[in-house]
């Protein structure tokens, strides 16, 4: 797994700044994501990882700075803008409605309508098709344990929920998939499920941005590691160039890159 240095990054951010009142969230952060790679973002609490992600995915609007997709400047006012550009995000909270079933959550906000008059005039949902595609998306990620697409999300275990969220991102993400702390609340077995899913995304050519504070997981799947510190970037390393201890040291400011 070497870092690819194709000319144009799939996603490029330059000098992103975001303040919350007098609190500095992001202090001029730049970042590049290339095709087919897994870029991890690590940092201590309050370093700005979540803020950075939200700015990249339209959940927050940065005060200044630019974003570019395949070299083209873009700006996102709401999450749907980023989604329309092919950036899919799995937030820490998963952004799933617990009472609704898996298929409904898969297509939440982009429900499929039936063909013809039923769909256009009566706006009737094509539930059968949504269920079929949801089942496929879940299977594609290799999640064998979910057999019933109509069960509600709250009846799933933590790992299964995470897997469904990842499957959703994979299904609709055409450019980038962003994962915010996907293994934070999971045990060993379930984390394995998610990490396998990430690798499967990469195999399909989808670049992945991964935020995590679980160093072993990061070192296992990441190609490059962007270190966030105190609202700014402390540098980019690779699992080959630095080991976990070094990485943590840079993250906490004990060492410099």
């Amino acid at each position: 797994m070497t870092t690819t240095t194709t000319a144009t990054p799939v996603l490029a951010a330059r000098e992103l700044r975001k303040n919350f009142g007098r609190v500095v969230g992001l202090d001029g952060v730049s970042l590049d994501l290339y095709a087919g790679e897994v870029l991890a973002i690590i940092g201590d609490n309050g370093a700005g990882k979540s803020t950075l992600i939200k700015c990249l995915t339209g959940a927050l609007v940065p005060d200044s700075g630019t974003l570019a997709i395949d070299g083209e400047i873009v700006s996102f006012k709401r999450p749907q803008d980023a989604q329309e550009r092919g950036i899919e995000t799995v937030y820490q909270t998963l952004a799933m409605a617990p009472a609704l079933d898996i298929a409904s959550n898969m297509f939440l906000g982009r429900e499929l309508r039936q063909r013809g008059i039923a769909g256009s005039v009566f706006r009737r949902l094509d539930k059968k098709e949504m269920r079929r595609r949801s089942y496929e998306a879940v299977q594609k990620l290799g999640i064998q344990t979910i057999q019933n697409i109509t069960q509600s999300v709250e009846t799933l275990s933590g790992g299964q929920r995470q897997a469904v969220a990842v499957a959703r991102a994979a299904e609709f993400g055409s450019k980038v998939v962003v994962l915010d702390e996907p293994t934070a609340a999971l045990g060993v077995k379930e984390s394995g499920l998610v990490l396998d899913a990430i690798k499967s995304l990469k195999d399909r050519g989808l670049p992945v941005i991964l935020i995590s504070h679980n160093m072993p997981h990061v070192w296992e799947v990441a190609d490059r590691i962007h270190i966030q510190r105190l609202g700014g970037s402390a540098g980019v390393i690779t699992p080959q160039s630095h080991n976990m201890t070094d990485g943590v040291a840079i993250m906490t400011g004990a060492a410099k890159l």
Partner: protein, 342 residues
Amino acid sequence: MSLTTTNIGTVNGLTGQRQSVSRRLQHLLHTNPWVSPLVILVLSIAIFTIINPAFAQPRAISLLIQQTAVIAALGVGQTLVILTAGIDLSVGAVSILATMLSAVLAQDAGLPGWVAIIVGVLTGTIGGLFNGFLVSKLKLPPFIGTLGTLSIFTAISLLLSGGRSIQATELPAEMSAGGERVPIGPFDLNIGVLVVIAIYIVVGYALSQTGWGRHVYAVGDDAEAARLSGIRVNRVLLSVYAVAGLIYGIAAWVLIGRAGAATPNGIVDANLASITAVVIGGTSLFGGRGGIIGTVLGALIIQSFTIGLSLAGVDDQFRVLAVGFLVIFAVAADQWIRKVRA
């Protein structure tokens, strides 16, 4: 690789593992929250029929349906609002404003019947839009916002009508057409009832078969998740309150037919009655769960208590007591249903 079977939720026995009886009942009620009120309704009718066989006659059932119609209609709007984890305390006030405005205009300004009815429905919709604006744009908690509009709309109708009632005989015939009898088989219904049934069909379709319906549930279940999924939460909220207002406007017309008059006293305690029907019907006050089937069942249950206890010769004080217990029971059941092991 697969997770152990104990991690899977209560599903269809596919895992081969027997779930406890109460867990399976809980799951059934979880996915179909209206089963519980249906059982209570059937039980109530059965018991009251045993006490006085007149209850199961077509006459009594017809009366039950007629008496429930207005609250059932208001309950649809209330259900929509509660599904979004909101609440609408102005339901009665909006309806009365629509009733009195349309009646006053018909009587004093000589508006033709149909125009007055449309004015009433529009009034309701605008009232609902205003509520929606308060909740979605100004971000007021629905309880506070609709508490305020309750007073505002009540005051406006008072200023308009001076608190007087206007008899149906002083109004164009169309305005009280809701009361016109429509015999169907052995049952004695009226146009108002048919209109309410139509409302249920339309809204029921929208809630279960369209994207808008799904969004309503999602916003109530987890508004932030809905927002992050690209749903325009503010628009959904605005539309819900506006649709509710529209329904209150139609209910206002049904009310004139029922009472034979445009009166501010036609639906005393409408907000409490509609909320009670919604809660007994299994819709959760926390949003995201339930539906309008439960609401009409809830309204029927309350009204069947009224008729049933009356047929049994029981004084009104006890009816009020019984309904109170019913509400507590319904909310406790809802709490139990919500306890799902993750």
